[in-house]
C-alpha cells in the first residue's frame, strides 16, 4: 500500500473538463464484486467456514457412534463412510445458501447495497458474482468437512468428476436460491424463516443420514419430489459408484432446477424487483 502522495500547492483534477465517459472506457465491475463477496466471508471465516465444519463434525461423531455397525446401506460400506458424503454435501448446500442470502440481506438492512446499485454493474454480473461467491464458500466448507471427517473414515472416491459436478451445481443452485431469498426478504427474520422452514427440513429429509430405500414406500415417493435428494444422491454416487437413482437423472433434475431458477432470478434482477423500486 502506498502512502499519501506529495501534494503540490494546487493539485490538478485530472478528468478533463466536461468530458463524459464513453463506451470504450467502460470496464466491468464483475471481478471486484466477486472479490468483495469472497473477501466478505473470508474476513469472518471463523463464523462462515470453521463453525459449519465443526457442526458437521459433531453430526458425524454422534450419528456414527449411535449407528456404526447397526446400519449398512451399501455392501461393504460402513455407516460412517456412508454418512461423510451426505454431511459434506449438506454443508456445501447450506453454506452456499447462507452466503448469498446473508450478504444481500445485510447490505439491504444496513443500506450499503447502494454501493453496488450505483455503479454500472449489469444484472448478469450481479447474479454471477453472488452465485459464484456462494459456490466458493460452499466448496470451501465442503472441503473442510471432508478433510476433517476423513480422520474417522475414508470413503472411496470412485467417480470424482460426478462428485465435483454435483457439488458445483448444487452450491450454484443454493447460491441462486439464497440470492432470491436475499432479494425477497426485508429483514433478517425472513431469511431465518426461509432457512428454518424450507432449507433445513429439505436437507434433513433428503437422505443425508440414510438411504431413501430404507424408508416406507410413501416417504420414498415423497423424497423424489425433493430436489435436495438428487443433489445428495448424485454427490454420493461420485464416492461409492452406487446411488438410489441414476446420476444422470439427478444431473437432469439438479441442472434443470439450477437453469430454471437462474433464469427466473436474472429476470427479477433485470426488472429491479425489490432492489430498484
Amino acid at each position: 500500500m502506498s502512502g499519501p502522495v506529495d501534494q503540490p500547492a494546487a493539485p490538478p483534477v485530472e478528468r478533463p473538463v466536461g468530458r463524459p465517459v464513453a463506451t470504450a472506457e467502460l470496464h466491468s465491475g464483475f471481478r471486484t464484486l466477486l472479490y468483495k463477496e469472497m473477501l466478505r466471508f473470508w474476513k469472518v471465516s471463523a463464523q462462515t467456514v470453521t463453525a459449519p465444519v465443526l457442526t458437521a463434525l459433531l453430526y458425524l461423531l454422534i450419528f456414527s457412534h449411535v449407528l456404526e455397525g447397526r446400519v449398512q446401506v451399501y455392501d461393504g460400506v460402513g455407516y460412517t463412510a456412508f454418512l461423510i458424503p451426505g454431511l459434506v454435501m449438506m454443508s456445501v448446500l447450506q453454506n452456499a445458501f447462507a452466503n448469498s442470502s446473508s450478504s444481500l440481506i445485510q447490505s439491504k438492512v444496513t443500506g450499503n447495497l447502494v454501493f453496488v446499485l450505483l455503479p454500472p454493474i449489469s444484472h448478469l454480473e450481479f447474479f454471477g458474482a453472488y452465485v459464484i461467491a456462494a459456490v466458493v464458500r460452499g466448496l470451501t466448507v465442503g472441503l473442510g468437512v471432508l478433510v476433517v471427517t476423513m480422520l474417522f473414515a475414508v470413503p472411496p472416491l470412485k467417480a470424482p468428476l460426478w462428485a465435483l459436478l454435483f457439488a458445483v451445481l448444487g452450491s450454484g443452485l443454493m447460491g441462486a436460491v439464497g440470492l432470491f431469498a436475499g432479494i425477497w426478504a426485508e429483514k433478517f427474520d425472513h431469511i431465518a424463516a426461509f432457512q428454518n422452514f424450507f432449507i433445513l427440513p429439505a436437507t434433513f429429509l433428503s437422505g443425508v443420514f440414510y438411504s431413501i430405500h430404507s424408508l416406507p414406500p410413501f416417504w420414498q415417493a415423497t423424497s423424489r419430489f425433493n430436489p435436495f435428494f438428487y443433489m445428495i444422491d448424485g454427490f454420493r454416487y461420485g464416492f461409492f459408484g452406487v446411488s438410489d437413482v441414476s446420476p444422470w437423472l439427478s444431473f437432469v433434475v439438479v441442472g434443470g432446477s439450477f437453469a430454471a431458477i437462474s433464469l427466473a432470478i436474472i429476470g427479477l434482477l433485470k426488472r429491479g424487483y425489490k432492489l430498484r423500486h
Binding site: P4, V5, G18, P20, E25, Y35, G111, P120, R276
Partner: protein, 304 residues
C-alpha cells in the same frame, strides 16, 4: 447544448403518494446546481431516479446524454452520488472501501487518485481504519470519497452536510467547488440555504413533487422585491407601527418593505414619537426569504 442531467416529465408514485408529478429539469454541464425544497418535496426521489436506484413511472432522465434505463451503464459511469443516509460496509477499511468502489466502476490501479481524494477529505490518517470505527463526520467523508473514485463528470450530493461539523463543511465545499471549477457538474440538495446561496449558480425549488421555481440564484434573489428594516428603539413603538413588524427575542422590530421609499414611512412616526434609535439596519432578502415566499405562494399539491 448538451445537458449533464436532463429530466423530462418524470413521474413517480409510491402507493397513494404522488412523489413526483411530472418534473422537467435540465442541468447544464459545468453548473453548480441547487435542488431545494421542504422534506417530502421529492428531491431524494428525483435523485434516486437519476441514479437508477428507483425507476420512474413515466418520463425519462438522461445523464450526460445517456438514458438512465436504456443506457444505464454509461449513465451510471458518468455519475457520482453521495447518498443522504450515512451508510457503510462494516467489513472493510477506508482504503479497501475506496478500492472496491473503484473496482465496481471497472477501475483498477486507481490508488493515486484514491490517495488524492483521501488527502482532500482529511481521510489519510484513517485509511487503514475499519469504517465501522469512524465517527459520523468521518463516515460522511468516506461516502463523498466513494462518489468520487471514478472521477464522474456529474456529481450529485444529497444533503451532504446534514449533521456535520463546520470544519468538514468548509473542507467539503472547498473540494467540491474546486471540482466544479475543473469542469465537474455539481447538483446539491441541502436545507442550509446560505450554503446553496453562496455555492449554486442556479437553483430549482421543489414542492409536492413539482418544480415551483427555477432560476439563476441572483435572479431568484432579485425576484423577492423589497427589503427588511431592523430597528431597535429605547422605549415602546407606537402601537400601529409595532403591529406592522415582527419583534425578535432581542427586542428589535423587523419590518418588511416593498421598496426603500418605505424606510421613511417607518422612521417618520419614530421621530414624531421622539424615540431614541439604538440599532438600525436595512437588510436585503436572502435565499431563505425567497424560499419562504416561494413555498407560501406555491399551490399545496401540484397536479396528481
Amino acid at each position: 447544448m448538451k445537458y449533464a442531467i436532463q429530466a423530462s416529465e418524470v413521474k413517480k408514485r409510491f402507493g397513494t403518494l404522488q412523489a413526483l408529478g411530472g418534473v422537467d429539469l435540465a442541468v447544464e454541464e459545468g453548473e453548480f446546481f441547487g435542488l431545494l425544497g421542504p422534506n417530502g418535496a421529492g428531491k431524494t426521489t428525483l435523485i434516486s431516479i437519476i441514479a437508477g436506484l428507483t425507476r420512474a413511472d413515466a418520463g425519462s432522465v438522461r445523464v450526460m446524454g445517456y438514458d438512465v434505463v436504456a443506457d444505464y451503464r454509461l449513465a451510471r459511469r458518468n455519475l457520482g452520488v453521495v447518498p443522504q443516509e450515512l451508510v457503510f460496509d462494516p467489513f472493510f477499511t477506508v482504503r479497501e472501501t475506496l478500492r472496491i468502489q473503484s473496482g465496481y466502476f471497472g477501475l483498477r490501479g486507481n490508488d493515486k487518485w484514491i490517495d488524492e481524494v483521501m488527502e482532500h477529505l482529511d481521510l489519510t490518517d484513517k485509511a487503514d481504519v475499519n469504517t465501522r470505527a469512524l465517527s459520523g463526520g468521518m463516515k460522511r467523508r468516506v461516502l463523498v470519497a466513494q462518489a468520487l473514485v471514478h472521477k464522474p463528470p456529474v456529481i450529485v450530493l444529497d444533503e451532504p452536510t446534514a449533521g456535520v461539523d463546520v470544519e468538514l463543511r468548509q473542507t467539503l465545499w472547498q473540494f467540491i467547488a474546486r471540482l466544479n471549477r475543473a469542469g465537474h457538474t455539481i447538483v446539491l440538495t441541502t436545507h442550509y440555504l446560505e450554503e446553496a446561496e453562496s455555492l449554486c449558480n442556479r437553483i430549482a425549488m421543489l414542492k409536492g413533487g413539482a418544480v415551483v421555481a427555477l432560476d439563476k440564484t441572483a435572479d431568484l434573489l432579485k425576484r423577492h422585491a423589497g427589503a427588511f428594516l431592523r430597528l431597535k428603539v429605547r422605549g415602546e413603538l407606537p402601537a400601529d407601527l409595532a403591529a406592522r413588524a415582527i419583534r425578535d427575542a432581542g427586542g428589535a422590530y423587523r419590518f418588511q418593505l416593498a421598496n426603500y421609499d418605505e424606510v421613511e414611512a417607518v422612521l417618520a412616526p419614530v421621530r414624531a414619537a421622539g424615540l431614541h434609535i439604538e440599532e438600525l439596519q436595512v437588510q436585503t432578502p436572502d435565499l431563505e426569504d425567497v424560499f419562504v415566499q416561494v413555498m407560501a405562494d406555491a399551490p399545496r399539491q401540484v397536479r396528481a
